[in-house]
């Protein structure tokens, strides 16, 4: 090889090895370990999305049950710890999983970008003039770096929308999730945004839920054929459940017509609480 150019040289590493960090941080130093972190956090995030979706189905039971569900999240942990402690711990866990998932994704794709650079290419990313027909890679696997940022931006919007109430203004009533959901998703552009974002989410999970088995090294020929089916099932379930909210809100199923409690009753929502306890 080297003789061809008449000089001896070694191909320079794209990612020179640095000093090894102490255990267990060194796991995050390698791409394989980082991919493992991405899989574990991805699994946790899928778990959250599933529980979030199932919990939100309470919206179909009316304002009182939705209120009761929201309150039950705050009182997780019972009387053992102060109100909201467990919820805040879960939120912290969720946030750290999200940050790790994002950080590993960004750094790993940068690593792959560096490994694909140069090599006499004409321009752009790794590309062959002869065209690529992507024989094995799915459309989902190739669009992870697009669906990912869409989901991240949507999560920020979603928090601002239904947690912080930035867009609803005076229409946002803390402690009355049913009202807020119906106000927000009753708005056509918002509903469209939710539909688009949730399709991106299901698309992302379609590849992620399959890919994580490979990254974690969970591989058993006896069950391998089930991995694709499982990923499709989980993605499909999340898609159907999450799309139902904006679609049915637009269809008029989540509205204030059947409501017996006044909306403005913010402090403690006594009326909703009464109805929930009567249930």
């Amino acid at each position: 090889m080297a003789q061809t150019t008449g000089q001896r040289y070694r191909v320079a590493p794209v990612r020179p090895r640095g000093r090894e960090w102490p255990f267990p941080l060194n796991l995050y130093q390698s791409a394989v370990g980082r991919k493992w972190v991405m899989a574990v956090t991805g699994l946790g995030l899928i778990g959250f999305v599933l529980i979030h979706m199932i919990g939100n189905l309470h919206v179909y039971e009316g304002p009182a049950r939705m209120y009761e569900y929201a309150e039950s999240l705050r009182s997780l942990g019972g009387g053992l710890v102060p109100q909201g402690t467990v919820l805040w711990l879960l939120r912290l866990g969720l946030l750290s999983m999200f940050v790790l998932h994002l950080h590993s994704a960004i750094t790993l794709s940068r690593m792959s970008g560096n490994a694909s650079e140069k090599a006499g290419r004409i321009s752009g990313a790794k590309k062959y003039e002869g065209g690529r027909d992507h024989l094995a890679a799915t459309y989902a696997s190739r669009t992870m770096r697009w669906t990912g940022p869409i989901i991240a931006l949507f999560i920020l919007y979603h928090l601002a929308d239904l947690t912080w109430g930035w867009w609803l203004g005076d229409d946002f009533v803390a402690g009355d999730p049913y009202h807020n959901v119906s106000e927000s998703l009753g708005n056509l552009p918002v509903a469209v945004l939710y539909v688009v974002a949730n399709i991106a989410l299901a698309w992302h999970i379609f590849h992620g839920a399959w890919s994580m088995f490979q990254s974690l090294g969970v591989n058993n020929p006896r069950y391998n054929h089930l991995r694709r089916a499982l990923a499709t099932g989980v993605a499909g379930l999340i898609l159907v459940g999450n799309l139902s909210f904006p679609l049915l809100a637009q269809a008029g199923l989540i509205d204030e017509d059947g409501r017996t409690c006044p909306v403005g009753e913010v402090q403690g929502n006594a009326c909703l609480a009464d109805q929930a306890s009567d249930h």
Binding site: M1, A2, T4, T5, R10, V11, P13, V14, R15, R17, F23, P24, N26, L27, S30, A31, V32, G33, R34, K35, W36, L108, S109, M111, S112, G113, N114, A115, S116, E117, K118, A119, G120, R121, I122, K126, Y128, E129, G130, G131, R132, D133, H134, L135, A136, A137, T138, S141, R142, M144, H207, S211, F213, Q214, S215, L216, G217, N219, P221, N224
Partner: protein, 260 residues
């Protein structure tokens, strides 16, 4: 496969020409009449003879055994590593896979870890760096032990054999959108890690080979393009096995595992 023997087809070749590692490359177009019985490399040989006669520089490409086992040949043909035929190295590809009037784009394998030496020849020595890091077993070579003293379970032998089919051609890296060398490395790790002879160094081998790999290549995102491009059809299962072994290697207490 076409019926006739010795049928001649005319193809348009769009060949990557690059004078050296740092030179700017370009595509060169050649019209070539060739027998469908010729292999792809024989077609390039014919082209080079014509270039020689015309006093032009022949196209540099690599080949050695020309029977699909050495892993030396390998170019991107119409965007596919080793061309359109499944489980076939470039040297085993024949012109009967193409039709009269076809345009064939021939490019080198591309990755930062595979710098172009000249034209279609790339430097794949980073794969050697991975092997050097641990792709071997340590044995006493003085007096070879009786081979049958070490029983090998049939399943392990079969799997190790499948992994050992890897010829190290680098098609996996070339086909990978991330330029990752996971399939190559996992085949080597899997081959030795599955056999009893490879157990003693199983964990240190996996650890050092993965880390050597990550110096030169990208990160695997489980697209599966590698396995599709592989002339030896190495399975993605070996990547999962390597990922698992790497994490075990990092976490387990090797001094009490009786393995290094």
């Amino acid at each position: 496969m076409s019926e006739g023997h010795g049928e001649t087809i005319n193809v348009t070749l769009k060949v990557w020409r690059q004078d050296g590692p740092d030179a700017t490359g370009r595509f060169e177009v050649h019209h070539q009449a060739i027998s469908t019985d010729a292999s792809f490399l024989e077609m390039l040989d014919v082209l080079n003879e014509q270039l020689n006669e015309a006093g032009l520089e022949p196209v540099a490409f690599e080949s050695d055994c020309r029977e699909g086992i050495c892993g030396t040949c390998g170019v991107m043909i119409n965007g596919r590593a080793h061309g359109p035929q499944r489980a076939t190295a470039t040297c085993q590809l024949h012109m009967r896979e193409f039709r009269d009037g076809d345009e064939i784009v021939i490019e080198p394998f591309r990755a930062a870890g595979f710098p172009v030496v000249r034209d279609l020849a790339v430097d794949r020595s980073p794969l050697d760096r991975i092997i050097e890091a641990g792709g071997f077993i340590s044995v006493n070579t003085g007096a070879a032990a009786e081979a049958n003293l070490t029983p090998v379970p049939k399943e392990a032998a079969d799997q190790a054999f499948d992994a050992a089919a890897c010829i190290g051609c680098g098609a996996c890296v070339a086909a990978c959108p991330n330029s990752a060398a996971q399939l190559f490395t996992s085949a080597k790790v899997g081959h030795l890690g599955l056999l009893p002879q490879g157990q003693a160094e199983r964990w240190s081998r996996t650890e050092s080979m993965v880390e050597a790999m990550e110096e030169f290549f990208g990160s695997c995102t489980n697209h599966g393009e590698c396995s599709e491009a592989c002339p030896k059809e190495i399975s993605l299962d070996f990547i999962a096995l390597m990922n698992r072994d790497y994490m075990k290697a990092k976490i387990r207490n090797r001094s009490l595992a009786g393995q290094h």
